[in-house]
Amino acid sequence: MTTLKAGSRLKSAVCDTEVMVVRATADDVSLECGGAVMLALASEKPAGAAAHEAFAQGTLVGKRYTDADERFEFLCTKGGKGSLAIDGVLLVVKQAKALPSSD
């Protein structure tokens, strides 16, 4: 269990997935990918681990993932085989809205 901080980056312990925290509450939660708790970007990944089959739909780079209440939002910065979850509950892809761009 840990507090997630906006701007911080984490990586999956079981696949290539990497995320950045876009929004988070101060609650202590467990952010998981492929059924395993996600790690700090700099930490070593355990060898030979694989995504649990209930959490293996995969992540896509550039997509944003949220929980049902939208208390948390993550940007997938690298895609992988595992699925994201908080405390065992799968996150969903946030629908992209049309953004007016000036650049």
């Binding site: 701007g7 780079v61 550039g62 997509k63 910065t77 690298k78 953004l99 007016p100 650049d103």
Partner: protein, 506 residues
């Protein structure tokens, strides 16, 4: 959170897509990331504190921006149009630094101690040739300064505005959808690398995975021809640039068709109504967007979107039609508030000081500190009001307001009236010192070239012209006739210069 993430993600998803093209040369996202990592490691090892750029647009500019991010150092693109002593003064403020430059621009400049000066082409070549495995990028903290920009200094000596990784990424995540560009899209970047719009263009186009076409030296003809040749789909211009493009088209009779162009955004100053209306006639299928932003806010904070343009252009209702002259509504990621002199929020339609708040708002200068108040609000120093629909109308800079006998007078309304007089081609109104009123209204007027005028008669006529249309307090006490007005290279009028000249002539 680091601006490098935009490039890492683009290189992950579209490694072979063209990231940037300049003239005959182009590099892919994978090449750009690799180049940035190698250059970043080399710069880091040198012990420098900043990564300076003194150059026009080229492939070296985006590589330098991302190399600085890899090294965890701030990127400082500088205005190459400054005088040699001004350039030297800026260099002294960023030592020790790694300086990527066009050697010609450094001729006659005494480079301070602690600089590693690298020719632009050599920098790019060394970065692309980097041998061995890609070095690891430094994991910069979100609060690390990513970019330092010297403000244009139209009101004083340049201030060093700092933009942190968290500010710039907040802007990108709030305004761009990752990978949103189609494979054949291209954005034309005509603003110089030292302009905030030049920085945000690199980050936005990379995050959108959109090919960035660089125009090293802007003129109306090359802009138009590059748009056509490169099948440009998106472009950003400052108002002066759009004027030049239209002048070129109207004077030369050149083919103005831009079938690939879908979106044309403009900002960085007040757009003259005839220019935008002519552009909308020339390119009716193009989506026009007016962007309002500041260096200190990581670029855009309000947008008049294409829908707003069409509503304004097609409406006969003056309340809707005037929308064309607004800067639109605040973007979702920021809040805007209009306040009076005591800092109290003002109701709709009341003119006051424009304040802004949001993650992208840095509002900070080196040596001065943060200008944000306790609740995170930043005073833009722009004046303006919001109408009942939420559209924001700007009314000049707070520093330009003329205070005559306790009455606040906006130069803009007097300029608008004078500009309607048939003899007036261009005009600027400034505050001049006055013993009786504290300040009085001074006007510098440009008349038709080649047409002889009776200055005394025209002066009296213009004073009557203003008196009949505005209040007597708005009548310029001083009117000076000139061949041209002083503008900086981005089309901003240099009011400080005018004020000094007119005051000296009193």
């Amino acid at each position: 959170m680091n601006v490098l993430m935009t490039l890492e993600m683009a290189a992950e998803c579209h490694p072979d897509r063209i990231a940037a093209a300049c003239g005959e040369r182009s590099i892919s996202y994978a090449e750009m990331l690799r180049a940035a990592r190698h250059a970043g490691a080399q710069i880091r090892a040198s012990g420098c504190r900043h990564v300076g750029l003194l150059d026009i647009n080229s492939l070296a500019a985006p590589v330098a921006l991302y190399a600085a991010a890899c090294a965890g150092l701030s990127y400082v693109p500088m205005n190459y149009r400054l005088t040699k002593p001004e350039i030297q003064a800026l260099l002294e403020r960023i030592a020790p630094a790694w300086l990527i430059a066009d050697p010609q621009l450094l001729e006659g400049v005494e480079v301070p101690a602690g600089f590693t000066v690298v020719d632009r082409d050599q920098f790019l070549q060394d970065a692309l040739d980097g041998v061995g495995a890609d070095p690891e990028a430094v994991q910069a903290e979100p609060s690390t300064v990513a970019v330092q920009l010297f403000t244009s200094g139209t009101t004083g000596a340049p201030k060093a505005a700092v933009l942190r990784h968290e500010n710039l990424m907040s802007y990108i995540l709030g305004t761009v959808e990752f990978g949103a560009a189609d494979e054949h899209d291209a954005v034309l970047v005509a603003v110089p690398p030292y302009h905030i719009a030049g920085i945000s263009a690199v980050l936005s186009s990379t995050y959108a995975c959109r090919r960035m076409v660089q125009l090293p030296n802007f003129d109306g003809q090359s802009w138009l021809e590059t748009c056509q040749r490169e099948k440009v789909s998106n472009a950003f211009v400052v108002p002066t640039m759009l004027s030049r493009v239209i002048e070129y088209i109207d004077a030369s009779g050149a083919d103005a068709s831009l079938p690939a162009l879908r979106a044309l955004a403009y900002g960085g100053g007040k757009m003259p109504a005839p220019v935008i209306e002519r552009a909308m006639q020339l390119w009716p299928a193009v989506d026009f967007t007016n962007a309002y932003g500041l260096t200190e806010t990581s670029s855009t904070i309000a947008l008049l979107d294409p829908e707003g343009h069409r509503e304004g252009f097609n409406s006969t209702d003056p309340e809707v039609r005037k929308r064309l002259h607004s800067v639109g509504r605040p973007i979702d990621a920021v809040e805007i508030e209009i306040r009076d002199e005591d800092g109290k929020p003002l109701p709709v339609d009341a003119v006051g000081d424009v304040y802004v708040r949001g993650g992208q708002v840095a509002g900070e200068y080196l040596g001065i500190g943060s200008l944000l108040d306790a609740n995170g609000w930043f005073p833009t120093r722009d004046r303006g009001y919001q109408d009942k629909y939420g559209f924001l109308y700007l009314d000049g800079r707070a520093d330009d307001v003329i205070v005559r006998g306790g009455e606040n007078i906006s130069p803009g309304e007097i300029e608008d009236v004078l500009r309607q007089h048939p003899a007036v081609v261009d005009v600027a109104v400034v505050a001049l010192p006055d013993e009786e009123w504290g300040e009085c209204v001074g006007a510098a007027v440009v008349t038709q070239p080649g047409v002889k005028i009776d200055e005394a008669a025209l002066r009296a006529e213009l004073q009557t012209w203003v008196r009949e249309r505005l209040r007597s307090s708005r009548v310029p006490a001083v009117i000076s006739f000139r061949e041209q007005l002083p503008y900086n290279e981005m089309g901003k009028i240099l009011r400080r210069v005018l004020r000094d000249e007119l005051s000296a002539a009193l």
